[in-house]
């Protein structure tokens, strides 16, 4: 059978307080079916408490061939990282 259904991206929140994370993609005829399919494909081992689905075509992605101008300028600007502070010993878990 040829599958003409559009592709959907699935985002799942694993527990309250955490953000939704991208879990994968699947095919479905519409949003309602995408939600049901996502429930069956991605949360059957109790991985989540909330699901978002969005049709893949609605996602605008950066172009890998433009990675140079998009990302490389950030590589040599170490001062943008908060690594130049001296932390007192009493501060833990940083």
């Amino acid at each position: 059978m040829k599958n003409n259904w559009p592709l959907w991206e699935v985002f799942v929140r694993s527990k309250n307080g955490l953000e939704h994370r991208h879990f994968g993609s699947l095919h479905a005829a519409d949003a309602e079916m995408a939600l049901d399919n996502a429930r069956d494909v991605y949360t059957r081992r109790s991985e989540g408490v909330s699901i978002w689905v969005v049709e893949s075509k609605n996602i605008t992605a950066s172009n890998p061939s433009e990675n140079g101008e998009m990302f490389e300028p950030a590589h040599d600007k170490v001062y943008r990282h908060p690594t130049f502070y001296n932390l007192p010993d009493e501060v833990k878990h940083m």
Binding site: M1, N3, W5, L26, H27, A28, A29, E32, M33, D36, N37, R39, D40, V41, R44
Partner: protein, 251 residues
Amino acid sequence: MKQDTLYQYILGIADNSLILGQRLGELCGHGPTLETDIAITNISLDLIGQTRSYYQYAAGLCDDGRTEDDIAFLRKEREYRNVLLVEQPNTHFGYVMVRQFFFDVFHLLFLKELQQSSDETLVAIANKAVKEVTYHQRFSSDWVKRLGDGTKESHEKIQEAVDDLWRYTEGLFYVTEVESAAVKDGIGVAVSSLKDAYYEHIKSVLTEATLSVPEHSFFQKGGKDGIHTEHMGYLLSDLQYMQRTFPNMNW
């Protein structure tokens, strides 16, 4: 209530889940798409999980050391008490969904009543199962509407399944002697009282799906009394193959 009557009553409930679970299990790996394949297998596992709870309870009522596996695998065809609807074959996806829909609507009404039983174990099983079956009904109703109100071909195919499987619906409401005894003791569900709500629900979904409700009033008898259709033997030979070939084998 006599232990044996309770035992028989539990099997009457559980056998529906076992046989439908087995039917759906046959589809594992056969699609029609990856997503529906997993959904159908999930439903199958829900049903077999419910079956295990019932059979474990039933096995505990006997003092001859029998286990849930003995009950599932080592009975003869006439000792299975499932309704005829659930043993019908997976002719095509339309049949799979209509069979599921016809059963789910009954199953949910039934479990909601079973939650009021005076038997604590049955109430506990029903409380867990009711959430699973609520989803099953949502899934199968959704597909009946999609296929009915879909393309010309999908409409024709699902109408064919509705027309063919309709004759097995009334068997759901047949009351056996064991059931009457269980109802009298406050344990069992009076299935005949669910009938009006059942057909009302079924008809409203079929209408929404632009499908016609069959008018014929011939209903196939059997199932709960152990008299099955010709499909049952083949199903059981698959189901029981391992235990019959390698008696007492374990995982």
